[in-house]
């Protein structure tokens, strides 16, 4: 949501002053499609927005592997185990790439990790939920990654060019994840009745987090992330794109979506749905989700356990 600071800046910049006019020029530059490099001048506010947003993205990549990690040992076949492991390696690689972008903006990786495990910074809502069956693994890889790729594709045009370039590699790898997820779901819905039910139950569990995924329907013009052209589309546009692309793919498998109001208005082309509980989303992302505490505790533990690696390697780097 737009903080008072942004609104103030957007209003006052019109009234002169050297820094304000420079900020105004910058704003016009990015709004006209201009892209910025690491060494270029940028308003402090823009830099702060970038760091916060990109850091949360990096955190999400790192936290996102935990629910999937739980299933490496329980994967039903060797092929699935290998594919899942490859996906997890990709996600940790994305975290590495994305934290590098944050570091070049001025916040070291160690500080990102400190803030993540202390709960000071956030990670995406979908990674605060537990997984109950292999059905969840399929639904996550297919639909959570599909929702994520919509957001990430909108970052390919990000006004901060180094981040946009990283997204190219991320999107390329994500496309394999979606297919792996869809293949997993297809294998289960064409299997036994029990397997079908596992997918159906997982979908019931994941529908609300999926509807929360793209955030509150704040108009793009009021969204500071859009104003600075860090994102190139509004939250609701992303959700509409997700519904448009994936609801038909879900329904054609005979699966049921737990929203009686869900329908596409054929005249306007807009999807209607039950308003998600936005307060719940806020509670989840501030660390009050069903698996938030457990996941952060695990991350704390693993950071302590692998601390010796950094201690061994870093002196040599210095």
């Amino acid at each position: 949501m737009a903080s008072a600071g942004d609104t103030l800046m957007l209003t006052t910049v019109r009234y002169g002053g050297h820094l304000q006019s420079r900020t105004q020029e910058f704003l016009e530059f990015v709004q006209a499609g201009g892209q910025v490099e690491t060494g270029d001048w940028m308003p402090d506010q823009y830099r702060a927005r970038l760091i916060k947003f990109i850091e949360m993205h990096g955190n999400s990549e790192l936290m996102g592997v935990l629910p999937e990690r739980d299933w490496i040992l329980r994967a039903p076949t060797l092929q699935r185990k290998l594919a899942l492991t490859a996906k997890i390696q990709d996600e940790v690689g994305h975290c590495q790439l994305i934290y590098r972008v944050v570091e070049d903006l001025g916040k070291p990786r160690e500080a990102c990790l400190d803030d993540l495990i202390s709960g000071k910074s956030k990670f995406h809502n979908v990674f605060h939920y537990p997984t109950k069956s292999w059905g969840d693994v399929g639904v996550i890889a297919w639909l959570v990654d599909a929702a994520a790729i919509i957001s990430q594709k909108a970052l390919l045009k990000c006004s901060y060019a180094p981040y946009a370039r990283v997204m190219k590699k991320v999107c390329w790898e994500e496309s394999f994840h979606i297919l792996h997820g869809r293949d997993t779901v297809l294998a289960m819905v064409t299997g036994t009745r029990e397997q079908f039910e596992l997918v159906q139950e997982a979908l019931l569990r994941w529908w609300e987090p999926l509807m929360h995924f793209h955030g509150t329907p704040i108009p793009a013009a009021e969204d500071p992330m859009y104003v600075w052209r860090i994102k190139s589309q509004g939250n609701e546009d992303a959700r509409q794109q997700f519904l448009d692309g994936y609801v038909p793919q879900i329904l054609e498998l005979g699966l049921e979506i737990p929203d009686p109001k869900l329908r596409k208005d054929e005249e306007t082309g807009v999807w209607e749905y039950t308003e998600p509980d936005w307060e719940k989303l806020m509670a989840v992302v501030t660390g009050h989700g069903p698996a938030s505490a457990e996941r952060l505790a695990f991350r704390r533990l693993s950071r302590a356990e692998v601390g010796w690696v950094s201690r061994t390697m870093l002196p040599e780097a210095a």
Binding site: G93, L97, R100, R165, W172, M313, L314, E316
Partner: protein, 102 residues
């Protein structure tokens, strides 16, 4: 130490910047580069360079506006039009001259 990676996607293509990573030395940098930028055969070759070895140059002043060394220094449209008109005129004069002589 931060290393920058440049990757070549196919033989014959230019090396393009791929990204960067931390590594304690060149030996680890070699292994990380392979993992980060070529584990799915998406690259045929990598250049791995310590960031501190790279010199960035960004200012290219052109005080004397030496446009004659570039294609945008030449606007031939008006001259070409004039030359074509002159050539047409010469042909017309020649034809009129030969008609008069017959």
């Amino acid at each position: 130490m931060i290393f920058e990676v440049f990757r070549q996607e196919r033989k014959g293509q230019a090396f393009v910047h791929g990204g960067s990573f931390h590594a304690p030395n060149r030996e680890f940098a070699d292994a990380y580069a392979r993992e980060f930028y070529a584990r799915r055969q998406e690259s045929v070759a990598l250049w791995v360079v310590p960031r501190e070895e790279i010199t960035t140059i960004e200012e290219f002043p052109d005080e004397f506006d030496l446009k004659y060394r570039r294609v945008d220094g030449y606007s031939i449209k008006a001259r070409l039009k004039e030359a074509r008109a002159a050539a047409e005129n010469a042909i017309r004069l020649r034809d009129a001259g030969s008609a008069g002589g017959a």
